[in-house]
């Protein structure tokens, strides 16, 4: 998976680091002083991740937790996202990460204690902490095994809520933990055709549905992100099928929320998408510059997509659990 591992000297001896290095014992490892001296110092093309992906291990400096933008999560409570990693092993064609960092290399931060301490200071009533903004929170979790530490914290702080966002079906490490009412595991799903087409290297829809069923059976709270929805002529049929399948593995009682959102890009990310996937159908979508300078569908098409998907969801799930993301 990785060509090289670069590890900061200051974290090399941590158990968390050692477990990861042991897992990748055959990958050449180089000690460095600071990640920021290397990561993103030169612009490494995004698609080099296919053949030349490196792993960085070190401490996250600066802000560890950031306030989430409006309409990021549910309407209630305060929302923050925390940064425990950069970049992702998957390659979704619409992913904003391709235009975000100057490198596709994976960075795993090891200072979870500090992140948790910051969380403690921020708790104020219903407070949400979201993982998975800059990386997939479960894709490497069987190697990183960090969530046990967070579960211990959230067990003692029931007013705080944790969301683990993922496109993975890798729930091995979660199944070793006892579910908590204030920890929500959320899965990003798309209809099967679009998932195959655009969510490169991610597990197929059926694998994600299977993972959801296993977590439901174990008593986990589940969230779903139908985001980004990509328009197709038979969108209603495709999403209807997928939502029917979802309802078979996820009952309303185990559902925390479902967010829905349509595909959108910043201008920079859109340029990267065009560059990286010039032949992809994703660049043939009817997108236009919108009110916030982002590139998205025209308002009527967005409204039509969202209301139709809401209609499909409401056949199986409580309407109050469904919300529109970033609209």
């Amino acid at each position: 998976m990785f060509q090289n591992i670069y590890v900061e000297s200051q974290v090399r001896d941590q158990k968390y680091t050692q477990d990861i290095l042991n897992f990748f014992s055959e990958v050449p490892t180089t000690e460095i002083t600071a990640i920021e001296d290397h990561f993103g110092k030169v612009k490494k093309p995004y698609l080099h991740k296919r053949t030349d992906l490196n792993l960085f291990l070190g401490k996250k400096k600066g802000q560890l937790i950031k306030e989430a933008p409006q309409a990021y999560g549910t309407q209630t409570g305060k929302h923050y996202y925390f940064i425990h990693a950069y970049n992702c092993i998957y390659e979704c064609e619409y992913c904003f990460l391709q235009g975000y960092f100057h490198s596709p290399d994976i960075v795993l931060f090891t200072n979870h204690d500090e992140i948790i301490n910051e969380m403690k200071a921020l708790i104020d009533g219903e407070t949400w902490f979201h993982a998975g903004e800059f990386s997939d929170s479960l894709a490497l979790s069987h190697i990183t095994k960090e969530w046990g530490q967070y579960f211990d914290f959230f067990r003692n702080h029931p007013e705080a809520k944790l969301e683990l966002r993922s496109k993975s079906s890798n729930i091995k490490s979660l199944l070793e933990l006892e579910p908590l009412g204030n920890v929500v595991v959320t899965f990003s799903l798309a209809d099967e055709e679009n998932s195959k087409k655009y969510d490169r290297k991610t597990p197929p829809l059926r694998a994600r549905l299977k993972a959801i069923r296993q977590l439901v059976d174990k008593g986990f709270r589940i969230g779903i992100h139908l985001d980004p929805i990509i328009y197709s002529e038979d969108l209603v049929g495709r999403y209807g099928k997928m939502i029917d399948e979802l309802s078979e593995v996820l009952p309303d009682t185990s559902l925390e929320y479902i967010s829905i959102g349509v595909v959108r890009y910043t201008k920079d990310v859109y340029r990267q998408v065009e560059l990286n996937y010039p032949d992809s159908d994703i660049t043939k979508q009817p997108l236009q510059k919108s009110f916030d300078d982002k590139v998205r569908y025209a308002r009527p098409l967005r409204g039509w997509i969202l209301s139709n998907v809401e209609k499909l969801l409401s056949q199986h799930y409580s309407a109050e659990k469904i919300y529109r993301c970033m609209e």
Binding site: Y297, R299, P300
Partner: protein, 318 residues
């Protein structure tokens, strides 16, 4: 240096644009180092004067005349003909005729001293030639004097026995000009030129839009291309087709909103929405000149379907 001679600027438009020719000393001349365009003006006299001036001043090696002509022998509208021999008629036929340098040309043209509006004229003139114009004989005559070879390409703009509407021809001038351009420059270089060669009249901003939409979809537009619509109408229809194909929802919404607004607009009150359909606000502009206008505006606002329009903007097509 090649000299292209047109009677009117409208007939030269496509050449000026495509060849990027700039105004050149006189107000009837455009050009660059290789090509000059002469807008000769209508009729024998104007053409003789301006062409003689040009040939005296510039080292022209070849003259190509391009323009519209009337059909005297039933030639199809929009068909393009290379002229073999040109005749002249000024109340009486002139003896002198001139033959072009295009050895493969097979259509003759007669330059007449006035516009042909009567079928009697047509009957008389058709004995001499298949096409009629008002300048070519002068071009050929002056060319001979300066010993410069000439060719001429005429596009049939009207059938002379039909009632000719000069306004129609004026409006179609660019379309004719494009056809002539593509006839004399037969390699379409891109999508827009290809469309133009099929009769679409495309402005710069429309070209950008069409190019963008064609990247997203390639519907069959042959029925539009082959239709009898004007070039402008064809382009509008093509854009509609492309937009509908790319985003049928927004297309339907736009259509419905347009219909609603039209139904509510009056001579003094005008409703409009954000062109991008991002803002759900509706703007109202009204001209109030007396109490009656105020009353009309109140009534108009009371029955204005704001909620329906806002729902449409959110994609509700029920």
């Amino acid at each position: 240096m090649k000299l292209l001679v047109f009677a009117h600027r409208g007939e030269a438009q496509a050449f000026l644009r495509k060849l990027d020719l700039k105004s050149f000393e006189q107000d009837f001349l455009y050009g660059n180092q290789d090509t000059l365009v002469l807008i000769s003006g209508e009729g024998i006299q104007n053409t003789t004067e301006t062409l003689a001036f040009t040939l005296a001043k510039y080292p022209v090696k070849e003259i190509v005349n391009l323009g519209i002509a009337g059909a005297l022998r039933g030639q199809e509208k929009n068909s393009i003909h290379s002229i073999r021999t040109v005749y002249h008629h000024h109340e009486e036929p002139s003896f002198q005729s001139f033959t072009s340098s295009d050895v493969s040309a097979s259509t003759d043209c007669l330059s007449y001293y006035k516009r042909v509006t009567q079928s009697l004229d047509k009957k008389q003139l058709s004995q001499f030639a298949g096409l009629v114009d008002r300048e070519l004989w002068a071009i050929a005559s002056v060319s001979k004097r300066f010993k410069v070879p000439w060719r001429s390409y005429k596009i049939v703009s009207d059938i002379t026995e039909e009632q000719t509407d000069c306004q129609d021809i004026f409006e179609k001038a660019y379309e004719f000009s494009l056809k002539l351009f593509h006839h004399t420059h037969p390699q379409p270089q891109n999508l827009i030129e290809d469309l133009e060669s099929q009769g679409f009249w495309i402005t710069f901003s429309e070209a950008k839009k069409i190019e963008k939409l064609f990247k997203l979809t390639q519907p069959d537009y042959s029925s539009i291309a082959n239709s009898e619509m004007t070039g402008k109408q064809k382009t509008q229809k093509l854009i509609q087709l492309l937009e509908e194909s790319v985003d049928p929802i927004t297309f339907k919404v736009r259509k419905k909103i347009k219909k609603e607004l039209k139904a509510n607009n009056s001579s003094k009150t005008h409703y409009s929405v954000d062109n991008q359909l991002e803002e759900t606000r509706v703007q109202v502009k009204s001209l109030l000149e007396d109490d009656r206008d105020v009353q009309d505006l109140i009534e108009s606002l009371q029955k204005f379907p704001l909620k329906e329009i806002q729902s449409l903007m959110d994609g509700d097509l029920r």
